[in-house]
């Protein structure tokens, strides 16, 4: 499960992992009129709208955050938390449904101006944006914040997309090794005056503003930068600032007196104080949630089995639960380099033999698990086509006859032996067993190899050498988008040029020249609608290679305390929009 999932940092090309994402699919057509509360009410409407200020918002999480440093956090809930204290040039709108996926100017006066060649983005800052110490935020602070991402030797862990698109080969080492006395050595970002910032890209990239909306692109004041200690007391430009942080135990945020609501179209800032308890056992959080002493679990990946059953059996409790699409796809990657899967027909046999209903049940059923997936773009991503189902798996039933035909075509009519790699935690071993059982019906004898989650994506299946050596034909994986476009979701999984010796995300080692060139075409496309069409095409081609066996579009069953106000699922995160929350009883 991706409970605040730690991400692999690849050093060269785009090294990223998943960020949970939204729920466009369910929110497109609000069928019921907005209600005060109710099951799934926060998916389509704001539950308990209110402007009442005051009180304390109580949050909890089973583990610590990866980092409170905006440049270093890659957890989905970490990005959501950053909305309390980090403002970007542009940020996701605070709206329910697909409207939340839109980027709106935050520190910037308006959306960036793009040059005709798509290589230059120019932004102008609003007046009166201040840090919590009262100093005014300038374009140099934003540039400095972005420069910090380049210092991966000191500040690793966060997404590195900005390095990929702003480094034209000058290999900027980050501000700590910058020879420029003002630490403004990153030439591809220019600050002609305190209010203007200009980005010069290596190559045209239509999704560039999404990179500026990631917390790491927020402003950092150079004189307040304490390097790797910055996470313990990050500066704030948002409505709240950090009051205290005890790693692994708790964090407290209080109001930032220098935040001016008139400059901020996004944030509500209702509670006076935000308390976040860290490292609380998952079942304990569930109990406190149901007892009303905790308002939300910031992990937002769904309650545990016990609380799940309690919610599902009691309509009164269920009225305070939501079941959003998280934006993750659970899938199996079928290697192109491990025999006999180098033959496409052997891969297709697995596609047809899989029992997606059993796999869905293993993930927790249609509610806690998610809907059956038939292709590799999740419903919240532009270009998703629910009808794209090349192997006819929507019903979830295995197609034994077709699987056997494919086995004949690949020269293994009696089946073969292979290995399924899987992490040994959560629901994944059960999924591997469900696939193993389904494959047995067509004579494919798969053994399951469970391994340590900490190394799984980095070196177990993230190292092609290891995959070949251990003979992993089928690898269990899960993926969510870093931003809600085809590029932000799929590129890293299928681009044949981003196969890495370790921390590889293209587990199947799919390297198809046609797909690669389509990716380039989609990246350069400035029109989102046209780009989405290309991604739909890429998705189709990827499915035709039979290297990906998606089985569930992930959902999470989350509980919200009834006292919360302004509750809605934010599509960019696939979870509640933390910054909008208030408490009704003023406590």
């Amino acid at each position: 499960m991706a409970r605040g999932r730690k991400v692999l940092v690849a050093t060269s090309v785009i090294g990223a992992l998943a960020l949970t994402a939204g729920c466009g699919g369910t929110s497109k057509t609000p069928t019921t009129p907005p209600k005060a509360s109710g099951y799934n009410a926060a998916l389509n409407a704001v539950v308990n709208p209110s402007t009442a200020k005051g009180g304390t918002l109580r949050m909890a999480n089973p583990s610590d955050i990866d980092s409170f440093d905006p440049a270093r956090t890659y957890y989905a809930w970490g990005w959501n938390m950053n909305r309390f204290y980090t403002r970007n040039l542009v940020s996701y709108d605070s709206k329910v449904g697909e409207a939340g996926l839109k980027l709106v100017p935050d520190i910037a006066k308006e959306a960036g101006k793009v040059s005709a060649d798509g290589l230059t983005y120019t932004y102008t800052l609003k007046d009166n944006i201040k840090f919590n110490d009262g100093s005014v935020v300038t374009s140099k602070d934003i540039k400095y914040g972005i420069e910090r991402i380049f210092a991966q030797d000191v500040l690793s862990g966060g997404p590195t997309y900005l390095i990929d698109f702003l480094d034209q080969g000058q290999r900027y080492p980050g501000p700590y090794k910058d020879s420029d006395p003002a630490k403004m050595g990153l030439k591809s970002v220019e600050t002609p005056d305190d209010k203007t910032i200009v980005f010069k890209l290596k190559e045209p990239f239509g999704d560039f503003p999404y990179l500026l909306a990631m917390p790491g692109a927020g402003p950092v004041k150079q004189s307040a930068d304490t390097g790797e200690k910055y996470a313990n007391k990050p500066m704030s430009t948002g409505p709240y600032m950090m009051d205290s942080y005890e790693p692994g135990k708790s964090a407290v945020f209080v109001r930032n007196p220098n935040w001016d609501p008139a400059t901020d179209p996004i944030r509500k800032a209702l509670p006076d104080r935000i308390e976040l308890a860290l490292g609380v056992e998952s079942n304990e959080i569930d109990n406190r949630l149901l007892a009303g002493t905790v308002d939300i679990d910031t992990a937002q990946v769904g309650v545990q089995q016990a609380a799940q059953t309690k919610i599902q059996l009691d309509p009164a409790v269920k009225a305070n639960a939501d079941n959003p699409v998280t934006g993750f796809i659970r899938y199996f990657s079928i290697s192109t380099q491990v025999a006999p899967f180098n033959d496409i027909h052997c891969r297709k046999a697995v596609q047809y033999a899989a029992d997606k209903v059993a796999l869905q049940t293993a993930r927790g059923g249609p509610e806690a698990g998610g809907d059956i997936a038939t292709n590799m773009l999740p419903p919240n991503i532009a270009g998703h086509d629910p009808k794209l189902d090349p192997f006819n798996t929507k019903s979830g039933k295995p197609q034994i006859d077709k699987a056997k035909e494919e086995l004949k075509l690949c020269g293994k009519p009696d089946g073969f032996k292979t290995v399924i790699a899987v992490r040994n935690r959560g629901k994944e071993p059960a999924c591997a067993e469900a696939l193993q059982q389904a494959l047995k019906a067509v004579g494919i004898d798969a053994s399951i190899e469970q391994s340590d989650p900490a190394l799984y994506f980095r070196s177990t299946i993230g190292s092609p050498d290891n995959v070949h050596k251990k003979g992993y034909g089928i690898m269990t994986a899960g993926w969510g988008a870093d931003w809600q476009t085809g590029y932000g979701y799929l590129q890293i999984l299928i681009d044949g040029r981003s196969i890495l010796p370790s921390g590889n995300n293209n587990y199947a080692e799919l390297n198809d020249s046609e797909i690669n060139s389509l990716i380039d075409k989609a990246r350069a496309e400035a029109d989102p609608t046209k780009a989405a069409a290309i991604w739909n095409d890429i998705n189709k081609k990827v499915m035709d290679t039979a290297t990906m066996l998606p089985f569930v579009y992930d959902k999470a069953l989350n509980y919200r305390n009834p006292r919360l106000t302004n509750v809605y699922i934010h599509s960019a995160f696939g979870m509640l929009d933390f910054q909008a929350l208030g408490v009704s009883d003023g406590k």
Binding site: Q305, A306, A358, T361, A432, S447
Partner: protein, 342 residues
Amino acid sequence: MVMGPTPDTATETASGVIIQRDPAEAAPGEATAGKEVQGRSLRQIAWGRLKRDRVAVTGGLVVIFLALVAIFAAPIVALLGHPPDQFNQEQIDPNLGGLPRGSWGGISKDYLLGVEPGNGRDVFSRTVYGARISLLIAFLATAVATTIGVVMGIVAGYFGGWVDAIISRLMDLFLAFPLLLFAISLIVVLPQDFGGFERNTVRMGLLVIIIGGFSWPYIGRIIRGQTLSLREREFVEAARSMGARSRFILFRELLPNLAAPILVYATLVIPVNIIFEASLSFLGVGVQPPTSSWGKMLANAVNYYQYDPLYMIVPGMMLFITVLSFNLFGDGLRDALDPKAH
């Protein structure tokens, strides 16, 4: 993980004074009590004592029953259950996270002990096949432990001196290992493929070697102690004076006299090994899926116990009954064969 079975007080009182006597004196003792004068072998005396110990007999019968269940798992399941790996989707409710339909974990006349949450596998079949895995691994591991333990113990006890010193320190070393942690890391590190065997066979072999390889010092120490006292006895001296070689004395003179303690302690190591195997399976390094094992079932049940307690109770009770029976039988056997061992 420490063996140390304490003497069972009930057995002690039941067996009374007679049973506390030395086996060598038992025959004449009973002969003088009247009746017919009849010579009885040590084996007969021990058997007589064991038969009178009801607790031990019950334990023994349960052990035999479990062994039969394990051996005839296939026909039993064919008759009363469903194939152990078969998913029965219709028996579970996907909308409740895969909880079994019906009360008591989905017990019905088709599914005698209910079904497994999440996939609907027959708990009865998996429990029966789980017995096979538990007993097989525990027996084989005990065989490994006994073989190593007896050889090391007898050699250390007989030769003494530096040989004894080295072997004894080796035993201390093994006993000092954080057993579970070490076993887990070993299993993870060791290769999973070996000589074209099935992966699960390789894993079971590994489990046997690791469990056996770590429990031999318990037997080794006892055998060493027994050998130390035996080697001073006259029959050993006699053999030595007649020019018998060490090997002959070790395996022809000493070993037969050690049969009783070996049998007793092997019986008492089996339940320890059953628990060890269950612990490893519980922690996810046991047998490979889809093979069932009680430890793995327990680990699975942790997620569901609040709404489907039966899924936890079934393998838990099986483990409890099995270990208890072996312990009771082993204690009884010790009382019968080796009354002075307390």
